[in-house]
Structure formats: structure tokens, C-alpha cells
Amino acid sequence: MRFAPSSGLTATLLRKFTLRHWQAAPGQSAVLVVILALGIAVFFAIRLANRAALGSFQNFTDLITQESDWVIRAPAGLLPASLLTELRGRLNPQPVGIIPVLETTGARPQTDPDEAIGSRESFQLLGVDLIGIQNLAARIVQERSWFGQASSSASVAGSSERFWQIFRNPRAVFISAALAARDKLRLGDPFTLVVNENIATLEVAGIIPAKRDGPQAPATLLVMDLPAVQSLSGNRNFLSRIEFIVEQGPDAKTRRAKLKERLESWSQERWLVSSPTDRRESAATMTRAFRVNLTILSLIALLVGLYLIFQALDGAVVRRREEIGILRSLGVEEYYIRRAWLLEAALLGLVGGGLGALLGWAGAQFSVRLVGRTVNALYYSTHLQYAQLDLEELSAALLLAVATSLLAGWIPARAAARTPPAQILVRHALAAPGLQFWRKEWLGAIIALAGFALVLLPPLRFAGGVRFPLAGYLAGLCWILGAGVLSSGVLRTLARLARPLGRWLIPAKIAAGHLVQPSGRHRLAVAGLVCAIAMTAGMTILVASFDTTMRGWIEGTFQADLYISSSGAQSASTENRISPETWKSMVTHRAVAEVNAVQTCDVQLSEGQTTLSGVELEVMHRRTRLPWIQPPLSNDVFAFERNAGLALVSESFSERFRLRRGDPVTVPTPKGKRKLIIAGVFSDYGNERGSILVERRHFAAWFQHEQLSGLMVFVRDGFSIETLRGEWLARHPGLRIFSNAHLRSEILRIFRQTFAITYALEVIGVLVAMIGLGLTLVSVLLERRGELTTLRALGLSRGEIAQATACEGLALAFVGVAVGTVVSLALGWMLIYVINKQTFGWTLGFDVPWLQIAGLALLVISIGTGVAYGVGRWGADLPADQEE
């Protein structure tokens, strides 16, 4: 007899064969869905948060005009505004829109001098020519005009008193509709903002007109007339960038290309010509390593889940093999059976994926802030509040869910399809072929060894000095997989060693009896645990090592008594500075012993962007203990008379640009390119883009200004630091003045905060592994329900049966934890010396937080045993003939 191939058969199989089992054991089905959902949720949440972080980097001018075709910037510092006239002359008579922009940052004034860094809302202040941009804005439909918001008569530039009042008001600020709604701001309301060291009271002149049906301005965007921002930021004759928009119409593409040629031939190497896409890509590149690392971390739970789903589906094959046999003997072909299994897996994937996406979207709202904080601290200013649902990411998550369950279901499906009808009669037939893999312990050893070979490979290198340690990650995967397979051997050995205990303890004897020849399910449960523990403990080692190293670095580097910066500085990309008048008046205070004044500027090297800082090298050398990777060979670099052509670079810089002590580095400055010789390489954990240190007085000469990004003050003995701080805070309310202790604790706090998300990911990973352990035992007991009946008949109480299961759980958890911990040491080592070094260029000391790992082990073992005991009590009551 042979069933005609029809979709009806598959549907019948699904209904009668698959769904019936699911309905019979709704709890287990639910747990399986939850495991998958958790894995997907974490992945989805992180992807959405990453996307939001990337999306938050934008060219704000796009919001009010249209996307520009080209942008020019200075390779270091700002552009002189006088270029505009030169440019217009050069580009005439071409119809090209030229948009000058000056962008800076500002923050709400501080209310607590001991505040946390980044606790105040900071704003991106965009200065554009409010008249000029209307020529471009006129081509897109906007929901409102710039000047027509107070009354209808002011809608046209120049037509009313009100227009001129707003236009000429150097404090007129346009805010986003979001900010107006949130802070209940209305036209004419004051708006206080710290820019540089000044507290400016601006006046709300209107809402930023956005494109109709286009993206709205974020709450943190402020727009002012360009000369007003020039005056407010102290950059009277400068611009951040000049954007160019080619007229639409015929040959726009050719004209666009020609414009680039003209701009490039005009600017030579003085200015950088790029497109907004280049900028976005560079932002994407800048944070790529961080985002990829997070995504990989987010896959821990899914990886653990993969073990569990595989094992659950495989268990189902075993339990349903009698039915499969009947179906096969009825003539249902292998193909249909396999299809029914794969459909079941896919269905599980869809349901789990859907639930996961829902959970993930909720989780993204939480994780987006954590991701945002890190991006803010390390890369660029962003204020992420929520992550938008993204269809592309949703599809990816669902696809991943289905792919995961199909991958997990593939081997069980094949096993099911190939089950010979004769097996109906054989109760303890061979395990499914898929599980054979977990029995080949020699294969585990080979995989683990392959990991050691992979770890020696260099990272992949991308543009801008970005590296990705693919081989490192693969090595980690090999170790986890290999150790997972090898852990069965440990389990067996443990069972053998525990056997003598059985003389006194019946439950232990029963458990050992099972584990001497561990089933595929046991092996998978241990492997899953090994995976979860190894990754979690590995991350704990990395974080602890980082923490210890950071503390040492802070201890050695942060020696000054007071740290002063603009109170507007709230993120890594702040433009806020202290004016020379202010800081020079401070350094002459009689309580000041000496200072280290710091000037910084982003510079574009040919390989990528980095930070150039001017510091008092001699003071730094004398007052701090810089941890050297390659110390200077002489003291020339610290002597002003001899250090004009010398620089110190951070380790991240050295790794990123592959430059060592003695190598030359060419740095652009407004006074032309400077060739510097690297005199030494020091450890720095401040940023991963790397930094170059030069003597501040040379920096000031090259950049023709003395605006400081920070001032470190060493107070004379006998003077009170707090009194001086109080005095300065009262005199300069726009400055932020931190004491040494406060700054140190802030740096540690920010650093720990960047790891907050990893803790959340680890917890979920362990949680999944624990659920998995319970599920394994449920499945094992279901398979052994005949044996359970026998045990009860032999007089074992329910408690004793539960104890036997608890012993089994204890053994599984113990082996999982033990092997996992060993692997975690290897993973920790690799994360520190390979992945971290290759990605961020940071050398850390290896520090194992034994106490934390022991705590984790204890927790996992006790939960594992507890769960096993509970499952045992439940299993003891199972009737011999009950289905799943």
C-alpha cells in the first residue's frame, strides 16, 4: 500500500502526529518555545538596539533640507568661513547649493556639582544659515515655515517686524516638536544651555520645520542661525563643514561627479571631500567591532538553545518511534515523515521566533539605552530612548529562529524517517544516528585542538584600521563544541567513580548506573551547560581583568587634584572647550601648584580618524605613571625644546594603524602636515580609536588657538582642594570641576556601565541552560517511565526516585560547571589576549574572579539539583503507559 503524494497527507501527519503530541504535553512544548523565544529575543533586542545606535548617527542637515551630495571638512579642526566666497567664485556659474554648517554640542546646566558624567541631557546644536537653507527647503514640502510660527504674517522672510526680531535675535533657537511636547516649551520660552563655559539663556523661536512625511527632528537637536552659533561657540570665523547640493534634473549624476572633481582639484589636500554616505559608513565602521561583539554575545542564549531544541526534537523521535514504525509499515514514505518532522521544527521556529521577536522588541527598549550609553561614552553623541521595530531585522530574527529549529530538527528528522518498522518491537534500539556525534569523544578532542590552531591566526582587517577577530571567535566556538563532546567522557568517569557510593546510597547508585553509559540526552544537556558556563564565566574573566587593569591604570594616570572641563561636555564627541581667558586666569591662582592643560582635536589620517591631543608632556611624565607598552628610549619627548617632532601614541592607535615606536606618523593641522616620530607607546583605555599625544604648546601653534578640552590642576600643599573647587565653581558655573576621587569613580562607573548589557546577556544564557537541564531530565524520565514503574514496584518511594534524579542532575550540573569553567579559562584568555587586543587594541592583565565563578558554579549546581529533584518527584508519578 502506498499513500498518494498529497499535501493532505502532510497536513494529516501534522495534525494527528505532531500537534497531538504537542497538545498532550503542553508544558514541555511551551518550554521549548520559550527557550527558542528567549534566544531569539536577545538576538533581536541587540540587533534593534544596534540599529538604533547606528541610525542615531546622522547628518542633521538632511532633516531640514535634503541630503547633500558632497561635504567638505578640514582634516583637522574647523574650516575657515572665508572659503565660502572662494568656493562660490570657483563653482560659478554652476547651479550648486552651498550650505555652510557649524555644529557644536551643549548641555543643560548642572545642578549638582558631584553629578554623574552623562547624566544631564546634551544637545546637538546645529548652526545653519536660516535664510539660505530656505532656498533648498522650498523644494521640499515642509509642515511649517521657519519664521511663520508666531503669526501668519511672519511666514515670509523679511516681511514683518516679527521676522526681523527672530532673525536678528542671537539667542533665537528652534527646537524639535518632540522637545517642545516633552518639556512643554512654547514660543518665547527661555531655554538654558551650556556651551563651552558659558550658560546661555536662549529663546524658543519656533519648531524645526521637518519634511512632511519625513523623519522628525530628534528631541536633542537644536537649530540656530549660523552666526549666532559662531558667536555662542566662540568660533566666529569658522565652520564645521560645507555641504553641497547639486540641482536635480537632467545629467544630475554627471554634474554630481563633475562637482566632486572640481571640489577635489580645488581643495587639493587642504580639505576632505566626502559624501554623506561615506560619513555614515565611517560611523558604521567606527562602531562595527562593538556591534559585532554584542551580536555574538547575544547569540549565547540561542547557541545554548540550539543544543536543547536539538535534544528535545531528538527525544521526540525516540518517544514517537513506535508511531513512526506504524506509519512506515502503513507505507508512508520516508520523505513524508521527514517533511512532517521538518515542518514541526519550522513551526516551532515560527512560534518561538514570533514570541521571541515580541519579547525582543520589549527588551530592545531597555537594551537600547545601555547600547546608547556605550556609544555615547566611546564614539559619538547619541541619546537613544527607544528602538524602532525594523522589518528587516524582524525577518532576520524569524529566519534565524526557523533556521535554528530546522538545523536542530534536521538530524532527528532524518533519524525519524529512517526508523525501520522493525524497531517498533525493539524498546531499546540504538540511539538516533545524530547523537552518534556526541559519542565520538576523539572528534571532540580534534575540534578543541583545531581551536588552538585558529587562535594563532591574525584578525580580518577592514578600511579605517577596523579589525575583526573572526578566527578568535571560531576558536572559541571550537573549544565550546569540542569540550561539549569531551564532557561526556568526564560524566562517565564521574559515574564510575561514584559507583562505590551506591553501596550506601541507592539513589546515587541508580543515577550512576544511568550515567556510566550516558544517553545522547545526557551528553547534550552537559554540552549545553558547558556552553553556557564557559561563555558566561569567560565573559566574567574578561570583565574582571578589565576592571583590575582599569583600576591600575586610573591609579597611575589620574594623579591631579582637580579635573576641569566644560560643563557642556557630556559625550565622547563633545565640542565644548574652555577659553584661554578662563583657564589662564585659573592657573595663576595662588593655590595652584601646576597644571596639565589638554587640547584635543579629531584628525583624519589617511587610514582613518583618530584623536590628537596636546598635553604638557613634562608635567605628565613627572606627575603620572603612564603604563608603557613601548617606553621612550630617551627623555627627549618630555622636553619642550626637543619634542617638536615627537609624539607618544596609545596602544589602540599602535594596533589600529600598525605603527610602533620609531615609526613616523603624518598628522594634518591647520598649519599644514606635520611629520612626527613615535617616541613611545602607552596603554590607554579611554577610546578605541587611539590617540596621539604631542606637546601642547606645539599643538596650540599648529591649531592657532588655546581652547582646552580639559585642565588638570595640582593643588599646592596646604591649600584645600574643596575650597578651591567651590571658589571656581561659584565663579565659573559653566565649568565642571571634579575631584580626583569623583572622577576616578565616574570613569569606573562608565566603564562598568558599558558592560551592563553583557551581564544581562549572560544571565539569559544561564537561564536557558537551566531550563534546558530540567527539560533534559523530563525527557529522560519520560523515556524511562517503564523503569520508573519497576523501581516503584521494587519499593522505592517517590522521594527516593526524586533523589536519584537529583543525583543525576547534580552530576550533570557538576560536570557542566567543571568542564565549562575549564573552557571559560581558555575563553577568558582568548577574549583578553586575542579578541580584545585585536578589536580594541587594549592590553589587559589576566585576572580570574574565582569567587564570582565559584558563586556561579554553586548557583548552577544547586539550581540544577533542585530542578532535577522536582522533575524526579513529578516523574515518579508517571504511569507506565502515559504518552509524553
Binding site: T85, P93, P95, G158, S159, R168, P170, P250
Partner: protein, 402 residues
């Protein structure tokens, strides 16, 4: 002495009331002048209420300085319209207008503004450019607004006005040739050299063109009524060598319209006989014509004969409704005046070459019709070309010019 100089002296003498010359003046011109004298009897104040300069009778113009910008006046514009002929006689009309408008003058107690040379906030510069492709019936126009500074400026020393990549300038000679450069979006561009074929005309009495009853409603109105044009027009990426004739106005004022005025219609006719007519009628809000409306003949030598409101008629022959603004424009008109040479009535009908010649946009908030026209006489003979300007039909203008 060249005849045109004699005529100008003649007019000037009349202004001064030199009775001995009166016999030489055509009757209609006498009325006109008498009326003008009556109006001019009131010496205008030197400043408007908001502190801007008021055109003063007898002002001595100096060139090229007076071709340049006058920042002490509130409003100023340089206006070029013309008719061009390209390959195979392809006909074009063009218009280029550069407006300058001062903001309120600072008074005591004015807040400190963020002054900047590159980003000024004392003046705004508005500009319009249009090209009419007659056979293609295409009218291409663009509006532009900038603050004075790096991307818009008007020299106070000579004619050199610029707004983005649009410019109008004069070379070393005060009276031309003039150079006009511009592009209209990416659709068209022109580069024209314009050489006056007649001397500069200063319209109005004693150099002041009155626009309303208010003593400040007046302008200095300087015109080159006929310029030979040669240059290149680029349309859809293709260059064409063109030649033709243009009309160039420069008007300087601090108060262009009175409060009861709704708008004006203006026409500049270039007749084939070598004469030109400039006419404007100012419309009051009640629908009537303001008595300060004017018509002036410029003879072949550049001498001007003025006719006041009572001595010419301006009749609507046909209207056209703009599909964009909904404004209804009297685009075909009939002008009836007296030929100062023959003393006979003269009738001119202005026919638009294309109806859609409406300009303006959201930046200025001003929409108006400025179109190339053919001029016919009462026998329907083609006697010349004209540009016709119709304002105040799509919203009130008074507010804009107050």
C-alpha cells in the same frame, strides 16, 4: 548740444517754471507737468518714519556709484527684461530681478545681534530669474533668497549685484556694457552682455518718481530703455548663441506703495520706430486707479515725455487665471495715449506670447505675472515688443512693501 540733452534741459527748465519755454511743450505734457508740479510742491521729508532715506528732488546722480546699492534706502531693485532670438529665429523672453531689502534700522535699545560680515542680518536679497521658450511654450523660473553676505551682495560703488550664482555687473565704463549671468535650476542658463543703445533715463519729476499721495511714496527710477544683447542661452544642456534687446531698470525707494494701494501694473514697450513707452498704473484697494499712475514716452534720442494718470488709459482686453495661485491676471491690455510727435491718439495692444508667465514662490510670498508680449497697433500690426508686469493679483503686496 545733442537734441536729447536739449530736451532734458527743456524738461528741467519747465520744472523750474521757466515760462519762456512753455510754448514748446505739447499740451498733454503741460497738463502732466502742471499736475506734477502741484504734487511736487510738497517737499518730501528726508527720512521715512522708520528712518530710511526718501528720494529728494534734484538729486545729482553719479555713475557708476548710483548704479550700485543704496543701503540708506529700504528697497531697491535691478530689473532686466528682454527679448532674444536664437538659432533659426527661435524666440526667448528673459527676466532677471535682483531685490535688496533692508531690515528695520537699529534704534537705541535694540538687542545686540550676532553681526557677521559673511552672514549679515541687515539686508535680505531676493532674486527672480525666468526664461520663456516661446516655440516650446515653456516658462522656467526660479526664486532665490539670501541674506547679504558671502552668497548675496550689492556693491555700493558700482553695479555689482550677486545672489548665489546669479550676477549683474558693469565693467569699467559706467554705462555699460553690462553682464548678466544666471541659471534657472538645472533647466536653463544664460550669459548675456548688454550694451545700452540709448542714454540712461531718469523717470519722474526732478528725478523723483511719485508712487502715491504719501510724500514718502516715491522712488529714484533709473532706466536703460533699450540695450543690445548678445550672448549664450543654455536650454536643456544645449548652448545657443542669441541676440536681442533688453530693458533695464534700477529703482530705489523706501516706500513703494501707500496703504490704500493694492498693486501695480507696469509695461515697458520697445517700438520698432526706435521709441519706448514706460507706463504704470497703480491700483487702489477700492478698484480705482491712483492718480499717481504714469506713462512716459522715450524718443529715439532718449528724451522723455510724461503723461499723468488722466492722459492715458489702460484697459483690460483679456484675463488669464493662474492654475497655481488662482490669481486672475489682465494679461492682454490696451494702452491709449497720445503720440508726442504727432499729437495724435495712439493705441497699443499688448498680447502675451505665452499665458503662463507667472513668477514667485514661497520664499518671497509674492506671486506676480511678468511676461513677454507682442505689441500691436489699432490696425493689428506688429509694432514692437514689450514686457508686462502685473502685481497684486494673487494676494496683497502692500504688506510686503511696508
Amino acid at each position: 548740444m545733442r537734441p536729447n540733452r536739449i530736451l532734458r534741459l527743456w524738461v528741467l527748465t519747465l520744472w523750474k517754471g521757466a515760462a519762456k519755454m512753455r510754448a514748446l511743450i505739447p499740451t498733454s505734457a503741460v497738463f502732466s507737468l502742471l499736475w506734477s508740479l502741484a504734487a511736487a510742491e510738497i517737499q518730501p521729508p528726508r527720512k521715512t518714519r522708520d528712518g530710511f532715506a526718501v528720494p529728494q528732488p534734484g538729486h545729482r546722480f553719479e555713475f557708476p556709484t548710483d548704479h550700485g546699492s543704496h543701503p540708506d534706502f529700504k528697497i531697491e531693485w535691478w530689473y532686466v527684461t528682454g527679448h532674444l532670438f536664437g538659432e533659426q529665429g527661435r524666440r526667448f523672453g528673459f527676466q532677471a530681478t535682483f531685490f535688496r531689502r533692508s531690515g528695520p534700522l537699529p534704534t537705541n535699545g535694540t538687542m545686540v545681534t550676532a553681526r557677521s560680515e559673511l552672514f549679515g542680518n541687515e539686508e535680505l536679497h531676493l532674486a527672480h530669474m525666468a526664461l520663456l521658450d516661446v516655440p516650446g511654450e515653456r516658462f522656467i523660473q526660479e526664486e532665490r533668497l539670501n541674506r547679504q553676505g558671502w552668497d548675496a551682495e550689492s556693491s555700493t560703488n558700482t553695479l555689482a549685484v550677486r545672489n548665489g550664482n546669479w550676477s549683474l555687473s558693469v565693467g569699467t565704463h559706467a554705462n555699460g556694457p553690462f553682464s548678466l549671468q544666471g541659471s534657472i535650476r538645472s533647466a536653463a542658463a544664460f550669459s548675456l552682455e548688454m550694451t545700452p543703445v540709448k542714454p540712461l533715463v531718469v523717470f519722474g519729476e526732478k528725478g523723483v518718481s511719485r508712487k502715491g499721495a504719501s510724500p514718502t511714496a516715491s522712488s529714484y527710477y533709473l532706466t536703460f530703455p533699450r540695450l543690445e544683447v548678445a550672448g549664450v542661452v543654455t536650454l536643456e544642456g544645449r548652448n545657443q548663441v542669441v541676440h536681442g534687446q533688453a530693458w533695464m531698470d534700477h529703482e530705489i525707494s523706501s516706500n513703494q506703495l501707500d496703504e490704500d494701494q493694492a498693486g501695480w501694473d507696469w509695461a515697458g514697450l520697445q517700438l520698432k520706430d526706435g521709441r519706448e513707452i514706460m507706463a504704470y498704473r497703480i491700483r487702489k484697494k477700492d478698484g480705482s486707479r491712483d492718480p499717481f499712475s504714469q506713462l512716459a514716452w522715450v524718443d529715439a534720442n532718449g528724451a522723455v515725455t510724461n503723461f499723468n494718470s488722466g492722459h492715458f488709459t489702460w484697459t483690460t482686453v483679456q484675463t488669464w487665471k493662474s492654475p497655481i495661485t488662482g490669481g486672475i491676471y489682465p494679461v492682454r491690455i490696451q494702452l491709449t495715449t497720445t503720440d508726442p510727435i504727432s499729437g495724435q491718439p495712439a493705441i497699443f495692444i499688448l498680447e502675451p506670447l505665452v499665458f503662463q508667465q507667472e513668477l514667485g514662490g514661497v520664499l518671497s510670498g509674492i506671486s506676480y505675472w511678468e511676461g513677454a508680449c507682442r505689441v500691436r497697433n489699432e490696425k493689428s500690426e506688429d509694432v514692437g515688443s514689450a514686457y508686462l508686469e502685473l502685481t497684486g493679483y494673487a494676494g496683497s503686496l502692500t504688506e510686503r512693501f511696508q
